[in-house]
Each structure stands twice: as C-alpha cells, then as structure tokens.
C-alpha cells in the first residue's frame, strides 16, 4: 500500500509539473494574442475622456504601465506578479482581478455545481435506461434526444426556457443573480436559488447528451461480456443483474467523463450567464472581451485553464485510485 501511495504521489508530481508548463504556455500565447489586438489599452482605460489626454500624459501612462517595454519583458513582469497572486487591477471594476474572479466564481460555482450534478444524474439514468431497453422506442427516443441536443445552441435553450417559465408562466425571474433593487443584506438564500434554477436547468439540459450516450455504450458493452453471460447462466435476472454487474462497472467511467467535461461546462456557463444576465465569471469574461479589460481577460483565461486542469486531474486521479487495472499497468 505504501508503494502504491508513493507511486500515485510521484505520478501526481509529474502531472502537476506538466500542467504548470502548459499553464505558462497558455499565458504566454494569450499575452501574445492580446498584444496583437487593435484595442488600445490606454484608450480602453480612459474611455470617453481620451480627447482631454495630452500626448505627454499618454506617454506617462504608458511608462507607468510598462507599455514602452518590449513584449517579453512585459510578460515576464506579469508572470512574476501572477505567481505571487497579483493579477493586476481590472479596468472595469477598478478592483484587483483576483478579487473580481473570486467573487464572480462563487456565483458561477453555484450554477455550475448544480448543473453538473443534475446533468450527471440525469444523463446516467437516461443512458442506463437506453441500454437496458436497447432497440425499443425508449432507447430510440433517448438517442434522438441526445443527438438533437448536441446540435442545439445552448443559449437558445436558455431563451426558450426564459420565454416559457419566466415570461409566460411567470414562475421565475427574467434575469440577474438577485432581485433587482434589493439591498445586499436583504437577499435571502431562497432569492438566490430562485434566480439560479433557470440558468442551471439550461446548463444541465445541454450537459446530458455526452454522459447519456457514453453510459449507454458502456453498459451495452458490459451486458455483452462473458461475466454477464455467466451471471445470466446462474439465473440472475432484471435489476439485480443490472445492479451487481452493470452499474458497478459503468459508474466510474461516467463520473470520470463528468469531471473531464469541465471545459464544456465552463463554455456553457458563459452562454447561460449571458442569457440570464447572471453575474458569474462567464459574464465577466464576455464583458472583459467586449470592453477591452485586458488584465481581467488574461486572469479569466488563466483561471479557466486551471479549472479545466483541475477537472482532468481529478478524472485521472479517480482512475488511478479506484481502478486497479490502470494502477498495475502504470506500475509495471
């Protein structure tokens, strides 16, 4: 057991190092891309008052920000500050980027976590049902539903939900994270939940397809295996057979897939937050892009990459810890 722990630990270190190198590369590429942008950072910062800034003042601002330095030097100073946790100051919010991201991510986290759990459970259930009833109309319906979903614009689902449940039925608010005009201390958890349901539902409807199709395929493979045939020969039937031999084998791949889908989850959140004006990280990313808030945009790119890495790392780790075959394969 000590050997195994040691092995996983070493693997974790190697993985983290590789991820760190990739992260630095992501930052370097993003930095380079942003430097090429036609958006002038000084103008984006000052806005409409640009007419009143003299060339000398402009040069002063550029010197203060280090814009007169070569790109590599700028990146170096940004990176060394970022390693210390200082991502600069957001131009839109006039707050440290790390604070903005932290606050926005708390909102997004509630949304993404709810959608993640919901879509995982729903997708798994549908996948199991489709494989169990393979070839019947239920299977066909679920498969078509999944294929159609994969072709559906996520934000359009948000719009449809918004029209049906917020505009027609009036069950849910049309947008925002909290009631408009309410004081911060008056907002209750019930309020927040009320504003969370529609965006979370949008996000989970979109997320179902991948898990469901994957689970269906896996379960079908398992049901055709020799040990299921043997179990059937012993007289096992119905749900007992499914629970003992099917579900145990397909639960882990489904969970792993769900962790590995953080990238799509984040992308979906950007759109869902945009439709429902939900004050999360995705909305901040869109604002940073449209209004040229360079420090915030860089910070969000970095953060989203870390988020995706974390998901992939958990997925890999789950396999390492839980699945003995992979562990032995790696050690041998």
């Amino acid at each position: 057991m000590a050997m195994e722990m040691n092995h996983i630990f070493l693997w974790l270190i190697r993985k983290t190092l590789r991820s760190a190198v990739l992260l630095v590369a992501v930052c370097a590429v993003s930095f380079f891309l942003i430097k090429q942008s036609p958006v002038d950072p000084v103008q984006a910062y000052i806005g409409a008052d640009m007419m009143r800034v003299s060339p000398e003042q402009r040069a002063q601002i550029e010197r203060y920000w280090g814009l007169d330095q070569p790109g590599a030097v700028q990146f170096g100073s940004w990176l060394s500050a970022a390693v210390r946790g200082d991502l600069g100051t957001s131009m839109m919010y006039r707050q440290p980027v790390a604070d903005v991201i932290g606050e926005r991510f708390r909102n997004s986290l509630a949304l993404m976590a709810a959608a993640w759990v919901l879509s995982g459970l729903l997708g798994f259930g549908l996948g199991v049902l489709a494989a169990w009833k393979q070839g019947t109309w239920a299977d066909r319906l679920i498969r078509w539903y999944c294929y159609a979903l994969a072709s559906t614009p996520a934000f359009w689902i948000g719009l449809v939900l918004l029209m049906v449940f917020a505009v027609w039925l009036g069950w849910f608010p049309v947008g925002l994270g909290i009631p408009a005009g309410a004081l911060a201390e008056e907002v209750t958890i019930a309020d927040r939940l009320h504003h969370l349901i529609l965006p979370a539902l949008t996000l989970s409807i979109v997320g179902v397809a991948g898990v469901a199709l994957h689970t269906r395929q896996k379960l079908m493979d398992v049901m055709e295996s020799d040990y299921v045939l043997f179990a059937k020969a012993r007289g096992e039937r119905g749900f007992t057979l499914l629970r003992r031999h099917g579900l145990r084998n397909i639960a882990l791949p489904a969970i792993t897939l769900q962790f590995a889908s953080f990238s799509e989850l984040f992308g979906g959140a950007v759109l869902a937050e945009q439709v429902f004006s939900y004050p999360g990280l995705g909305q901040a990313a869109v604002e940073a892009g449209t209004r040229g808030d360079v420090p915030l945009l860089l910070g969000i790119v970095l953060f989203s990459a870390i988020f995706v890495f974390a998901g992939n790392l958990i997925a890999d780790l789950l396999y390492q810890v839980v699945d003995p075959r992979i562990r032995e394969g790696a050690a041998g």
Partner: protein, 271 residues
C-alpha cells in the same frame, strides 16, 4: 429497404435540405427583409411565416439569410480547421518522435482552455468581425480531429505495405501522400462534416455574446441576441423560429456525417 440504402437516402436528404437553405438564403434579396414600419411586431401568419420584428422586417427572410451566412462561415472554418488537423496529424505521425511530442503537446495546449474563452480571446485579438470568427473557430476546433488522424497514421505506419514501401526507398512525403492520404480520406470527410456542427454553434454563440459578426449582418447569433430585448413583451417568435432553424441545419450536417461514417466504416457498413 436495407440499412445501407436508408443511410444513403438519409445523407442525401440532409444534403438537399442544406443546399436548399444555402441557395434560398443567397436568393433572398435585401428588400425582402427591409424595414417596413407599417408591419411592426406581427405574430407569425401566412404572409409572414416567422412573424416580423420591431422594425417590420420579415423574420423568415432574415432567418434564411442568417442561416446561409452561418453555413458559409461554418464551412470555411470547418474546412480550415480540418486542414490544420490533417497537416499536424500527419506531421506528428510521420516526422518522428519530437514532432509527435510537440504536436501532442500543442493539442493539450489548445484543449486546456474552454473553446468559448479562447474564441473570446482570438476574437478580441483580431477585433471581432468575420475574420475573427473564422480564425477563432479554425484555430480552436482542430485538436480532436488531429488526435484521430494521428492515431490512424500511427497504426498505418506499422502496416506491412507501408514498411515495404519504405524499404523500397520511397520518401516520407511520398508515403504520406500516396499511401496514407487516400486511406484517410473518408475519415477526413466525416471528421470535417462532424466538425461543422461545432463550428456553426460556436459561430452563433460568439456572435450572440457580441464578439462575432457585426450587428449589420443578419446572422442567427445577432437575431437571437436582439430578440432578448423583446422577449419580456411576449414576442416569442423572434427567438423561437431562428433558433429552431439553426438546430435543423446543424442536425442535418450531423446526420450527414454520421450516415456517411456508418457507410464507410467497415465495422458498421454491412449491417
């Protein structure tokens, strides 16, 4: 009707539908969706199938035009993305270990940031508009296809006829061109077709959030983001039909790709 024939008919029907949308969109003249203030905010009817908007523009004509714009952007971007995937996938498998390591690393790099975030970044770099969208989608969608091609070429490389060809003194480029590309062609076509749905959906998404095509274009993303302001007044047709049509177009491409894949894939083609 056997399975092969059914798949073929399905693929052809999808192709016809897409062609009709594309040609229809190209034939719609601008006056069909010109501003007509007398016909504002009309619900769907026989004259205006998809209703009219707050400027009296016919939504059916706008949607058709928007779809053909989207299909065009999607095809260009998916084709460019497939090209990148082929070049890098071939390079990884043919040019030796270091090239392979580098390409694998590059794939990891591009997969490490959510597509939409990298799209925002690239669009920001290129100042939005059509070039930004096409470049953004082309640069972000190649990794999955490149992975498939790399794996395929790696398997091909150890095939006997390729080994013999190498012993006969053929160059690496010759082998890549004469032995590998023909083998990869069906997979490439299917891969590109299946890239298309992602490309179009991301085009619509990035346009929807305001970093894609310019607001003057009748793109689906623009139509849907404009409709947001009118939804609370109950004008559901502004968002419902354009989105549904986009879904159908994307689904048609998906059906085409999957049918062809089943037809060409030796494991499933005889079922």
């Amino acid at each position: 009707m056997n399975q092969r024939l059914r798949l073929l008919v399905l693929a052809l029907a999808a192709a016809m539908f897409l062609l009709a949308v594309w040609i229809g969109g190209a034939l719609v003249s601008e006056e069909r969706y010109a501003t007509q203030l007398a016909l504002r905010n009309l619900a769907p009817s026989l004259q205006h199938w998809f209703g009219t908007d707050w400027l009296g523009r016919d939504m059916f004509a706008r949607t058709l035009k928007g779809l053909s714009v989207s299909v065009g952007v999607g095809i260009i971007a998916a084709a460019a993305s497939s090209l990148i995937a082929v070049v890098l996938g071939l390079a990884a498998a043919v040019l030796g270990r270091w090239a392979d390591r580098f390409v694998t690393w590059l794939i990891d790099l591009f997969m490490s940031v959510p597509h939409l975030v990298s799209l925002i970044l690239i669009s920001f770099t290129l100042g939005g508009g059509l070039p930004g969208v096409v470049a953004g989608i082309a640069l972000t969608h190649w990794p999955s296809l490149a992975r498939i091609i790399r794996a395929e070429v790696l398997a091909l490389r150890s095939a006997e006829y390729v080994q013999i060809s190498r012993r006969l003194g053929k160059s690496r480029m010759w082998i890549a061109g004469k032995h590998m590309l023909p083998h990869l062609r069906p997979q490439l076509i299917v891969g590109a077709l299946l890239l298309f749905p992602h490309a179009v959906l991301h085009e619509a998404a990035i346009t929807f959030i305001g970093l894609g095509l310019s607001p003057h274009e009748p793109a689906i993303g623009i139509i849907l983001s404009e409709s947001m302001r009118y939804l609370s007044t109950g004008m559901w047709w502004l968002a419902f039909f354009p989105g549904l049509c986009l879904l159908l177009v994307v689904l048609a491409f998906d059906v085409m790709g999957r049918s062809l894949n089943q037809l060409w894939n030796p494991h499933t083609s005889q079922r």
